[in-house]
């Protein structure tokens, strides 16, 4: 088990209670919060003022590379050993468009998944406090902070309506 990062973990049943806590904590300077939820929730995203994920750049890059690779592979291989088929030019663009299209999708999808994994693992959660209820029906807010801030953060969470507050030992 990885060494835990010190901080406070609050559990919430009500979504508006959780967003209240997030907003208050953010105004107090706790901007590196981690919020756990069983499903994506727009209210939480808005409270956290999340920016759009850069995963789309991976998709775009993958798609463009796939399309270029599709045309490059087919044209190069046709010219490497030129064989006349059906009277068509060696580097025939219309039939190769089908292959370039398929590779655009394939590379786009693979790059998207790679982007999702890389971006998610850039901020690992294995050293943060977690509770199994967060994949069920509760929202969790973890605030990394030093032990002298524990009571202040716990106070904010309790006031917002947290059902359980714990801190790292």
């Amino acid at each position: 088990m990885a060494k835990q990062i010190p901080g406070v973990l609050g559990s919430f049943v009500h979504v508006d209670a959780a967003t209240d806590a997030i907003k208050t904590l953010r105004t107090q300077g706790h901007t590196d919060l981690t919020v756990y939820n069983a499903a994506p929730n727009h209210e939480i995203e808005e409270a956290l003022e999340q920016k759009v994920s850069p995963v789309r750049l991976f998709t775009l890059a993958g798609g463009l590379i796939g399309c270029a690779a599709g045309f490059a592979m087919t044209i190069w291989m046709s010219l490497d050993w030129p064989t006349m088929v059906g009277g068509k030019p060696f580097g025939a663009i219309p039939p190769y468009t089908v292959l370039a299209f398929e590779l655009t999708i394939l590379f786009g999808a693979m790059f998207t998944v790679a982007g999702m994994l890389i971006l998610s693992f850039l901020k690992p959660t294995n050293k943060l406090m977690y509770d199994e209820k967060f994949s069920d029906d509760q929202i969790g807010i973890f605030v990394p902070c030093s032990s002298d801030r524990y009571s202040a953060v716990e106070e904010v969470m309790m006031q917002a309506g947290s059902v359980e507050v714990r801190h790292a030992s």
Partner: protein
């Protein structure tokens, strides 16, 4: 307003987790019988395949000029089955159709296993199965590359991409659900689900990238699914064989694929929801929406069949006219009429709400759809090849036990994977259902 009231699940978040986790690892009698049947069918196919490897393709009923027959028919059938899954999981996701959430996981799994099944058939059909890698563009000692101008090569890339992307789409969708299962089981199962959940905790950062990534995957899968059956249709439409050389083939095949796929969804889900006790999650409302999809795609098929006959008549080409005359009144009239009745006519029964909401009727009709769509491909492939431009070279196919053995085996192979998946992984998407249920609020109180 009843429809709107029904489209949102009525359970709480916790109930959704419990109900879906309860489906895992169950050993009901119904399930065991279904799995036993699937394994038995798979063994029939396996034995037939071993004999084919030993004795060669001469064992099957190939008969010149019909050199594409049951195996290619079954290939097209299974690729088509997959299409409904991607339509429901990706296209309806982009359209924000709320009713898809209850059925999408099962249909996406169906897609992956159907394409896995389909992928076997070109390999079985090539005869020297151990040389299948010749289909791929790899550097070899003869410096020869594959023929990229052939639709068969487009197929290799289309099916390969389809299998990879739909598997990825299924697995990506599964990760948050596996994490939910991980947190609700214990012992060795917890360890296995922990590894499979790759450290998912549902943190805001994970959801931020996940939601966007999933959206792009859906956006990529959408044109892909339309391209795959179009490419499969061009395997035929690019050739000058009468009955194949039509410009309507791509949309005609895509509509047929979705029609057959939704038929298979009924065949699978109706017994499964009973066996896994999911009747309250996969409801008549969901099945009725699927039936409407069947009606829509079935009507496109009806139109395509009519246009095919019209074009044959209007073309003035005797070979084309003869092929279509023989489809209805030739030696294989029974196959031609099975296709028309089971697809064009059966789909029209879904105009009636009483049929759309009757689960027994849906199940029975789905069997007709499966049969009809298999025969559609059989008629197109075998019917056209048997009656080509030169009547001197006409011939009939005589399918034998080696053809039927592999066909039966393919159903066993597909059902075996599907059933094993259903008891190992959440067959209903926990995360997406929860997204539909508003979280409780302290200010208004209650659940909404």
């Amino acid at each position: 307003m009843t429809a709107i009231a029904q489209d949102r699940p009525t359970q709480t978040h916790a109930e959704v987790t419990r109900d879906v986790v309860a489906t895992l690892g169950t050993h009901g009698r119904g399930y065991t019988i279904m799995l036993g049947g699937a394994v038995a069918l798979f063994l029939v196919g396996l034995i037939t395949f071993v004999l084919l490897l030993k004795d060669g393709l001469g064992l099957a009923g190939y008969n010149s000029p019909v050199m594409w027959s049951v195996y290619i028919t079954t290939f097209v059938f299974w690729v088509g089955i997959g299409h409904a899954g991607t339509l429901i999981s990706a296209i309806l996701f982009l359209f924000r159709s709320p009713w898809r959430t209850a059925v999408y996981r099962a249909t996406e799994a169906m897609t992956v296993f159907a394409v896995m099944t389909a992928g076997l058939f070109p390999i079985i059909h090539i005869g020297r199965q151990w040389l299948f890698y010749w289909l791929l563009p790899y550097p070899n000692q003869r410096y020869l590359w594959v023929n990229f101008k052939s639709p068969l090569l487009w197929d290799v890339f289309a099916i390969g991409t389809y299998l990879t992307v739909s598997t990825t789409f299924l697995v990506v969708g599964l990760v948050p659900d596996i994490a939910a299962v991980r947190d609700h089981v214990s012992g060795w199962r917890k360890k296995i689900y922990s590894i499979c959940s790759i450290g998912w905790t549902g943190s805001d950062n994970q959801w931020r990238h996940y939601s966007r990534g999933y959206l792009y995957l859906a956006a990529l899968a959408t044109p892909l699914v339309l391209s795959v059956h179009s490419v499969v249709s061009w395997d035929f439409a690019m050739a000058l064989v009468p009955g194949w050389h039509g410009t309507i083939f791509a949309p005609y095949f895509v509509a047929g694929a979705i029609y057959s796929g939704v038929g298979m969804v009924f065949t699978l889900l109706i017994p499964l929801r009973k066996v896994l006790h999911l009747e309250h999650m996969i409801t008549v409302y969901h099945l009725e929406n699927l039936a409407k999809l069947t009606l829509f795609t079935g009507s496109i098929l009806f139109y395509a069949y009519a246009i095919e006959y019209f074009v044959a008549w209007y073309s003035g080409v005797p070979a084309e006219q003869t092929t279509f005359y023989l489809r209805a009144f030739g030696p294989m009239w029974w196959a031609g009429w099975t296709m028309i009745i089971c697809n064009a006519f059966v789909s029209q029964l879904f105009w009636f709400k009483k049929i759309r909401t009757n689960i027994t009727a849906l199940f029975i009709l789905s069997i007709f759809i499966n049969i009809g769509m298999w025969f559609e491909r059989f008629v197109i492939i075998v019917g056209s090849l048997g009656n080509d431009h030169i009547p001197f070279a006409w011939g009939q196919l005589n399918p034998n036990w080696a053809d039927w053995g592999i066909l039966a085996g393919s159903f066993g192979w597909f059902l075996m994977y599907f059933l094993l998946f259903a008891r190992t992984f959440p067959i209903v998407a926990i995360q997406e259902i929860k997204e539909m249920i508003p979280m409780p609020r302290k200010r208004t109180g209650g659940h909404r």
